[in-house]
């Protein structure tokens, strides 16, 4: 059972239910051979489904470090990072997958952490802006030098998208940079500095 001091919502005891994997056979027979093989494999590993509710202990791998905390299944990755783990580089702005301020890298790909459940990120590598190189070869430095920020609240999201973009494409054109950053919104309107920063960072990263 869960070991937590905090009480779960609605005074309901935290619990884990296990759904037995029995009765599977009927369903599997109609599956394709490929799927069946995979199912067999899955069944071998796990023939039951764990059901989590209330407050649950979570282990998240953030920037290469195992971090433990207590959250709820509904806690977003963003709120878990910000409110529980003090990882506040990613910002909460729209909270609806439409501005990019909360962008983090999960298993090598940028995602909106506001629209990702923390519980589904266990066992996955989570990278946030806090782990980026802040030296002259890094993306943050290029943003600084090219004034790719004003209030700076959108900036961690832009820097993260930009870093992920440059990791995939060492030599982007301006248009590719724009496409790559289309999932982020800046209200102060620093796009010009951001584009310059991305081009500059591509240059130094290649040089480095």
């Amino acid at each position: 059972m869960l070991e937590t001091e905090q009480k779960p919502p609605n005074n309901r005891a935290s619990r884990r239910d296990f759904l037995r994997g029995s009765g599977l056979a009927a369903a599997t027979t109609v599956l394709t051979g490929r799927a069946t093989a995979a199912i067999e494999e899955a069944r071998a590993q796990d023939s039951e489904v764990q059901v989590l509710s209330g407050e649950i202990p979570l282990k998240l791998n953030v920037n290469g470090e195992e971090k433990a905390t207590v959250a709820e299944p509904r806690s977003t990755l963003l709120d878990t990072l910000r409110n529980r783990l003090d990882v506040t580089g990613p910002k909460r702005v729209c909270d609806r997958a439409s501005c990019g301020a909360c962008t983090v890298i999960v298993e090598g790909e940028t995602v909106y952490s506001c629209t990702t459940l923390a519980v589904s990120c266990q066992g996955k590598a989570i990278e946030t802006i806090e782990s980026f190189d802040t030296g002259p070869n890094g993306v943050p430095y290029a943003f600084h030098q090219n004034d790719g920020l004003m209030c700076g609240y959108c900036t961690p999201g832009f820097v993260t998208s930009c870093k992920a973009l440059l990791d995939q494409n060492k030599n982007p054109t301006l248009e590719e940079i724009q496409r790559g950053l289309d999932g982020n919104i800046c209200r102060c309107g620093t796009y010009g500095g951001v584009f310059k920063a991305a081009l500059a960072a591509a240059k130094t990263m290649k040089g480095a």
Binding site: L24, A27, A42, V49, T115, G183
Partner: protein, 328 residues
């Protein structure tokens, strides 16, 4: 977002098992479901996370047919070379969905089964956007709403950019339920709800979409999307066309519009106008005009009639390789 129970099954069967009760929902990329949950438009008591179920993901080609697992990320579809080469209608529509982050998260299954983006629905007035028994949509801000079937009560538009090309390409959806598996045409996933209690989706609450299969394609296909912002934006109107051609003569056509009706809208009028004709600027123009011949716009969205006409024309002329416009 209300509290819920969370299950993370490792197989499609276990997923169906875990969902087996009322008030539960599958969670894939979450980009639609979690938004609705945050707005309390959806309040599942259990969430079954299917995005990490390996057999549900991946693009597989076999014998000219193509199967795409329901939990395949949109980014994977965009990057698939076979799809890019042979199914440009699907490639293009998928590449234009949302943003890089979104395409890393959103899945094709979730895209097909996402709920309408109608702002009345999202603000809590139900699928039909009713208040005190009256349609808010009809007298309200319906700039993004339907231009077909507007005599009825369902005035929202189907939100999926990807359903249109899939239907044009004759794709089928495979559903796994507690009683086993069934396969239906993708267009059969959708229906026009008759009352506020109805859904616009035909899939049962305990059915899992496991994959979509696109049969071998003989002709050519294309999608043309009209949207305002070049950075992410919803299409105002999108048209997908799949044609079979004999030389430049069209022998069969499937033309599907998104953004114009509560279901992906098959335009039999446009199809009839182009079949048997040479594919030219004039015939494409005529097909566009035919596509909207039965449109009945609402108070604010007559402009969408123009857009639907243009989208059909341009989808056809993309196939013909006769682009007279500038790419956005």
């Amino acid at each position: 977002m209300n509290a819920f129970e969370y299950a993370g099954p490792t197989s499609p069967e276990l997923a169906v098992k875990a969902i087996g009760r009322s008030g539960a929902a599958f969670l894939s990329g979450g980009t639609d479901l979690l938004n609705r949950m945050k707005d309390y438009v959806a309040t599942p008591s259990r969430v079954v996370y299917i995005n990490d179920i390996k057999p549900l993901a991946g693009v597989h080609a076999s014998g000219g047919a193509m199967s795409i697992g329901a939990a395949t990320k949109l980014a994977a579809i965009v990057h698939d070379k076979t799809i890019e080469a042979h199914l440009p209608a699907l490639h293009r529509a998928t590449a234009e969905v949302g943003t890089p982050q979104l395409r890393h998260m959103a899945t094709i299954g979730g895209n097909l089964l996402q709920r309408p983006r109608c702002w009345y629905y999202r603000n809590g007035f139900g699928l039909l956007g009713m208040k005190d028994g009256k349609s808010l949509v009809r007298t309200g801000d319906n700039r993004y709403h339907a231009i077909f079937l507007t005599d009825g009560d369902a005035l929202f538009v189907n939100p999926s950019s990807i359903a249109a090309p899939l239907i044009a390409l004759g794709a089928e959806a495979t559903l796994l339920g507690p009683k086993g598996e069934r396969t239906i045409a993708v267009e059969k996933l959708y229906q026009v709800p008759k009352s506020a209690a109805d859904s616009e989706l035909t899939i049962a609450a305990d059915e899992l979409l496991t994959k979509v299969t696109i049969p071998r394609i003989r002709g050519k296909n294309a999608t043309y999307e009209i949207r305002q912002k070049r950075a992410y934006d919803w299409p105002i109107v999108l048209a997908s066309a799949a044609l079979e051609l004999d030389g430049s003569k069209v022998t069969s056509a499937k033309i599907i519009l998104a953004g114009v009706a509560p279901i992906p809208w098959r335009s039999e009028e446009a199809e009839a106008a182009i079949v048997g004709k040479e594919l030219t600027t004039e015939s494409a123009e005529a097909a566009g005009a035919a596509a909207v011949s039965k449109a009945k716009p609402l108070s604010m969205n007559a402009y969408k009639v123009t857009l639907a006409k243009v989208a059909v024309k341009r989808a056809l002329l993309t196939i013909a390789g006769k682009k007279y416009w500038e790419e956005a």
